[in-house]
């Protein structure tokens, strides 16, 4: 069964450093997302991406964050200058609609996550 993959699984960085989190969405999916989850809290939406541009973003997704789809398979989240409060689990998700989808049955499939620790 196809799945969303993410690398690395864990990342430790110093405050102020740049990090890039990588995701490979499911191949026929067209919508891509980043969510984050601070330890013990709920999953929070960061950004959605469709047709090579951001379609929606939350207030968390400030100028320090950017997303990119550099090729046909990868989807990245960059944090330019990490802060302590960026420590969280970051989940990538992807979604149909696409060819073969049953209308109205699409949901978002989550990757395993990248645990980011900012020191």
């Amino acid at each position: 069964e196809p799945e969303v993959t993410q690398t690395p699984s864990h990342q430790v960085t110093q405050m102020g450093q740049e990090v890039i989190l990588r995701c490979v969405p499911i191949s026929n999916h067209l919508y891509f997302y980043w969510y984050r989850q601070i330890l013990g809290q709920k999953v929070e939406f960061l950004v959605s991406f469709y047709n090579n541009e951001i379609s929606e973003k939350s207030e968390i997704f400030d100028d320090q964050f950017s997303v990119e789809r550099p090729d046909g398979s990868n989807f990245t989240l960059k944090i330019r200058s990490t802060k302590l409060e960026d420590s969280a689990m970051y989940f990538c998700a992807s979604r149909i609609p696409g060819q073969g989808a049953i209308k109205g049955q699409e949901t978002q499939y989550f990757g395993p996550g990248t645990r980011l620790l900012v020191l």
Partner: protein, 110 residues
């Protein structure tokens, strides 16, 4: 505005039933239910689109009352493997994101 889940936590013995509720103040297009085990990604359980529609597989089912903007997840004859935190994710028409509730922690004891 995030949906509100209730209860926040449930402790059951194996074989007992549970109901987890999710309510929103916004008109919803869909409700998605996920289960998350500690340290893992959320795993999709089911999606509901129409008012009053119930979906399910095996002993886990859900309903969506479109008029009340409420969804409920039903777990019957719970198994140890059902333990985890259950999140509802809500979607409004035209939005391309899920807004998650705060989660309901379900513990199943033998």
């Amino acid at each position: 505005q995030q949906p509100v889940q209730s209860p926040q936590a449930v402790i059951l013995r194996e074989g007992e039933d549970a109901v987890i509720n999710c309510s929103s103040s916004k008109a919803l297009y869909s409700v998605h239910w996920y289960r998350q085990k500690h340290g893992e990604a959320p795993v999709f359980l089911m999606i509901l689109l129409k008012g009053g529609e119930q979906k399910g597989h095996e002993k886990i089912s859900a309903s969506f009352n479109e008029k009340k903007q409420q969804s409920s997840l039903y777990l019957t004859a719970s198994q140890l493997s059902y333990s985890g935190t259950y999140f509802c994710g809500t979607e409004v028409k035209g939005a391309q994101k899920l807004v998650f509730g705060q989660g309901t922690r379900l513990t199943i004891n033998p």
